[in-house]
């Protein structure tokens, strides 16, 4: 959570060193937070500002002096006297490889900032060979733990498969999934408590799944869309966004964002309306809002059609419409 409630007693300050600079931070501060505060940029993918860190992607690794392995900046807390290097040769190497390994196995075309990081770390995902053909729909979901078909190494295995479209509100395009676990955490005990999805399978065949790969409509999903809110790659998206991207009409630069208050009930959730050509194309919520922390319900996130259904230029047109 980015909006801490200051009820705890004041924290002890500790001294540490980041890239040769002395820092003094409250006890419990992570390397990532300390770096953000001092303006040192560290790439992150699986880190969620409203979720407990899972440190699964390892793109934020840093070198802690004296440690055998690199440490994830998002979850390693600074300790007194700790000396951290955020841009050493080892750090750059691991970040480059993480980007290459992801880039060669996942479709990162809608992941913000990845091109910039690929360039910064000189990552070339193509050097593992041509990409394998996408798997038929459902094939990846049926793979058994601990078993795989060994190929001949001529193609680089990917997680690509056709998008899953089983409802009118969202599309799950797991070709773009980097297994950050954020959707699972947002759906589970960290926010929504619906537990509609989990990480099934193991290893490279691990995937986000409902029980028995059932369609979302048969699952516990309540369509809050909080999983879309936290998805870092666009693997989960609004059906509107997915359709517009398919049609080539999605244009973020032409969109305006307006934050307002949801009118459905009295809780007072903040909504950010993303509008393109006078149409609401998606709804998000500010992560630093103390009411929502970025979360909404199905009405707030998806119930925006009525705003646009004027019909014949009349504000009362919608009432005449039987739908």
């Amino acid at each position: 959570m980015t909006v801490p409630v200051h009820l705890a007693p004041p924290k002890r300050l500790i001294d540490a060193t980041i890239d040769g600079e002395e820092v003094r931070v409250p006890e419990g501060t992570t390397v990532l937070d300390a770096c953000s505060a001092s303006g040192t940029e560290i790439p992150t993918l699986c880190y969620g500002d409203t979720l407990a860190p899972r440190n699964a992607c390892r793109v934020c690794v840093v070198e802690v002096e004296g440690a055998r392995t690199l440490a994830p900046a998002c979850s390693r807390k600074l300790e007194p006297g700790m000396s951290v290097n955020t841009d050493s040769e080892r750090v750059r190497h691991s970040r480059k490889l993480v980007l290459e390994l992801l880039g060669s196995s996942v479709d990162l075309s809608t992941t913000p900032r990845v091109p910039e990081w690929m360039e910064r770390y000189e990552a070339e995902p193509g050097r593992f060979g041509p990409r394998s053909e996408p798997a038929p729909l459902g094939e990846r979901d049926a793979r058994r733990a601990g078993e795989h078909e060994a190929g001949d190494g001529s193609v680089a295995a990917t997680v690509e498969q056709p998008p899953k479209i089983d409802n009118d509100l969202y599309v799950r395009d797991y070709s773009k999934c980097i297994m950050c676990y954020k959707c699972v955490d947002a759906c589970g005990d960290q926010w929504q408590n619906s537990f509609a999805i989990g990480v099934a399978g193991r290893g490279f065949d691990a995937r986000i799944s409902t029980e028995h790969d059932a369609p979302l409509t048969d699952s516990a999903c309540v369509y809050c869309g909080n999983c879309i809110e936290v998805c870092p790659t666009g693997a989960l998206s609004f059906a509107t966004e997915f359709d517009m991207r398919q049609a080539g009409t999605w244009d973020e630069s032409a969109q305006t964002e307006t934050t307002t208050i949801c009118t459905y009930c009295g809780v007072g959730c903040n909504l950010t309306l993303h509008v393109q050509e006078n149409e609401i194309v998606k709804v998000t919520s500010p992560h630093d809002n103390p009411v929502t922390h970025g979360n909404l319900c199905i009405k707030g996130r998806f119930g925006f059609q009525h705003v646009q259904r004027r019909g014949e230029g009349s504000a009362r047109g919608a009432e005449k419409d039987p739908l």
Binding site: R58, G153, F204, A220
Partner: protein
């Protein structure tokens, strides 16, 4: 939490299987018959969720009974335990031994891992594929899978069959001759009957065991019809009965099911000594002994116990890591099968020292006989007041719960084992915090390997300083080595630290006439290869380290000059790919890229550029993976390149840090 379940109902067998673990349901709220009174109250919540650690046993019960876990059965388990179905599915699909698609009741696991591959598992695999279709498939009678190491490397190649039933039955074929394998893979004529009448004793100790009222064990002691009797556990120890043995001295001398036998051979005198010394005294002796963990990481046991014992929050837990899955390792199996009471006694002492009330014994799912012997030992020990409330009238209470793994190497990782026991996916946790601070159920926990724990018995009987005098200064006490591959007498050897690799191989009769040693894999798949001309490496932690290698879990796998090293490396890579939990990117994708690269080399690609690529991937896996699996997935390949000179590099460079 408003859970949504499927609309599938379990059949009677599935319901019974689940109830056998969880007891009958109390109301419609947890899967029982819905009564009018159920409308007047709600049940579930924390009380039910606190039993989440029964998820794995409940899934096992269904899989054991029916052979696979149907949607209806999974749903029923979820209702009983208030677990969201998606989460239970996530757990069930994590393990290789659980099936979520219908399959026959009998499943054959053919080991195709390094030691078995070196001893000819390939023609056996072809034979199974010819008769029963590709692995994973089935012909209606029997299903078969290629398995990672089954821990029977001393009599490779090995196969294990498990047949579902009210009490499942198992049988092994090791060495698996084509005929023995056929017997395993043929459904018995009475294939649908099960679990009646005592059969020939399967522990190798003859009819006298029939007279004893057996504890009810998970697996039926009657082996599958048509299978060959499993050899005595002591057959794995070529020099069984040697007066020099400390850890193995009872193997072959006692009936593993008899507490009286165990006590007649000195059993439970260490526990009495521990109770006399008090917890602080035990901690002192263990610290003085210099004992370090035998699971591979070689961490000082005394320090781990001290750290756990001194944590103010409670309860404290003990976890015995018996998830021995490192390819080439079988020492823990031999101890558990041949001398199970020693482990129970050692766990009791460890629990006493660290202030634990409960110890969890996490045993891999591929060890049915070891499981049976341990279940018997725990039941008998409880009957004799050696476990439970007020152990031996000392006021100390301790009990042991067995948790059975289900085919996932990663669950032997010291934090992944917590997730597995707690009913979560067996994914490693980030350290810090370390298990001694926040381990099982978030409480201070000591995790110890089987071999480590049984060392505590001689420590208490000899005294810490006397134990420390055995071996070398940096590596104290006796050590077990799992010798397999191309030697005359493969098996489990106990030597004091200090012997060299050559001494060990000579103790096993050396390599057969006319063969030479091409390489030796030390420490298993996570270990490293050394050359055949490096046999003077001392088998101590410090000696191995000085030679740029590791003892790991005690694997010594000899590859003679007929072995196909590239194929061996491809198998190592496949192993890591299959066993990665998939949580972090370097390991999840890196192990795939490593295998692909080795496959390209084995098909004639330019080794030079592939090795450069492997180095880069390997370095990132070593540096950036969450846990030891990813961090060591490149060790063996790297040592084959740098030490054996496999792909044209100059042999002999120490396998150390590389820059790319």
């Amino acid at each position: 939490m408003d859970l949504r379940f499927l609309d599938e109902t379990p059949n009677e067998a599935e319901r019974e299987a689940v109830d056998s673990v969880l007891g009958p349901p109390e109301s419609g709220w947890d899967g029982g018959t819905r009564l009018d009174t159920d409308l007047r109250y709600a049940r579930g919540g924390h009380a039910a969720r606190d039993r989440r650690d029964l998820l794995l046993p409940a899934l096992h019960a269904v899989n054991d009974r029916v052979g696979w876990i149907s949607p209806g059965a999974l749903d029923h388990v979820c209702r009983r335990l208030t677990i969201p179905p998606a989460e239970a599915y996530a757990v069930a699909s994590f393990y290789a031994m659980f099936a979520l698609q219908e399959r026959p009741r009998r499943v054959v696991h053919l080991c195709t891992d390094i030691a078995c591959a070196a001893k000819g598992s390939e023609p056996l695999r072809d034979r199974l594929a010819e008769r029963h279709g590709p692995p994973g498939g089935h012909d209606g009678e029997v299903a078969w899978h290629e398995s990672p190491c089954l821990g029977m490397c001393e009599r490779a190649p090995a196969a294990l069959a498990i047949e579902a039933g009210t009490r499942p039955r198992s049988a092994v074929a090791a060495p698996a001759t084509p005929e023995a394998l056929d017997a395993l893979a043929e459904a018995a004529p009475d294939g649908h009957a099960n679990g009646h009448g005592p059969g020939p004793a399967a522990n190798g100790h003859g009819p006298s065991d029939r007279d004893r009222p057996a504890a009810l064990t998970t697996f039926d002691e009657t082996p599958l019809a048509g299978s060959h009797p499993e050899p005595d556990p002591a057959d794995a120890v070529p020099d069984a009965g040697s007066p020099d043995h400390v850890l193995l001295r009872r193997i072959g001398r006692v009936d593993p099911l008899s507490l009286d036998d165990y006590r007649a051979e000195g059993g439970y005198s260490a526990l009495r000594e521990a109770l006399r010394l008090g917890p602080a005294g035990v901690l002192r002796e263990v610290s003085d002994s210099g004992l370090v963990g035998r699971g591979g990481a070689a961490f000082p046991t005394g320090r781990k116990w001290q750290a756990t014992a001194s944590r103010p929050d409670g309860p404290h837990y003990l976890v015995c890591n018996a998830d021995e899955s490192e390819p080439g390792t079988f020492k823990d199996r031999v101890i558990m099968e041949g001398d199970p009471f020693s482990l129970i006694e050692a766990m009791t002492i460890a629990g006493y020292a660290i202030g634990a009330r409960t110890g969890y014994l996490y045993i891999r799912g591929e060890y049915p006989r070891a499981l049976r012997h341990l279940e018997n030992a725990i039941t008998v020990a409880r009957e004799r007041d050696l476990l439970g409330d007020d152990v031996l009238g000392s006021g100390f209470s301790f009990d042991i719960e067995i948790r059975r793994g289900a085919g996932a190497y990663i669950c032997g990782e010291e934090t992944a084992i917590f997730g597995s026991i707690e009913g979560e996916r067996g994914e490693p946790r980030t350290k810090p915090p370390f298990p001694v601070e926040k381990g099982l159920f978030g409480k201070p926990t000591a995790v110890n390997n089987v071999e480590t724990l049984v060392n505590v018995l001689p420590i208490l009987l000899m005294g810490g300083p006397a134990y420390a005098a055995v071996g070398t200064e940096g590596s104290t006490g006796p050590k077990l080595f799992c010798l397999s591959g191309g030697v005359r007498r493969p098996g489990l050897y106990e030597l004091p630290f200090g012997a060299t690799l050559r001494d060990l191989i000579e103790a096993a009769g050396g390599v057969p006439e006319g063969r030479g040693i091409q390489a030796v894999l030390l420490g298993g798949a996570a270990g490293a290869f050394v050359r055949g001309d490096e046999l003077d490496i001392p088998l101590t932690f410090e000696g191995a380290r000085a030679a740029g290698t590791t003892l790991g879990s005690g694997v010594v796998l000899v590859l003679d000059d007929t072995a196909d090293l590239v194929a061996t490396l491809v198998r190592v890579a496949a192993f890591f790919r299959d066993e990665s939990c998939g949580q972090c990117v370097p390991c999840r994708v890196g192990t795939v890229r490593q295998e692909e690269s080795l496959l390209r080399i084995s098909r004639g690609a330019d080794a030079g550029s592939e090795v450069a690529l492997l180095r880069e991937v390997g370095q990132a896996m070593r540096d950036a993976s969450i846990c030891g699996l990813g961090q060591t997935a490149w060790n063996a390949v790297e040592s084959a390149v740098d030490r054996l000179g496999l792909f044209g590099a100059a042999p002999g460079a120490p396998a150390g840090k590389q820059t790319s």
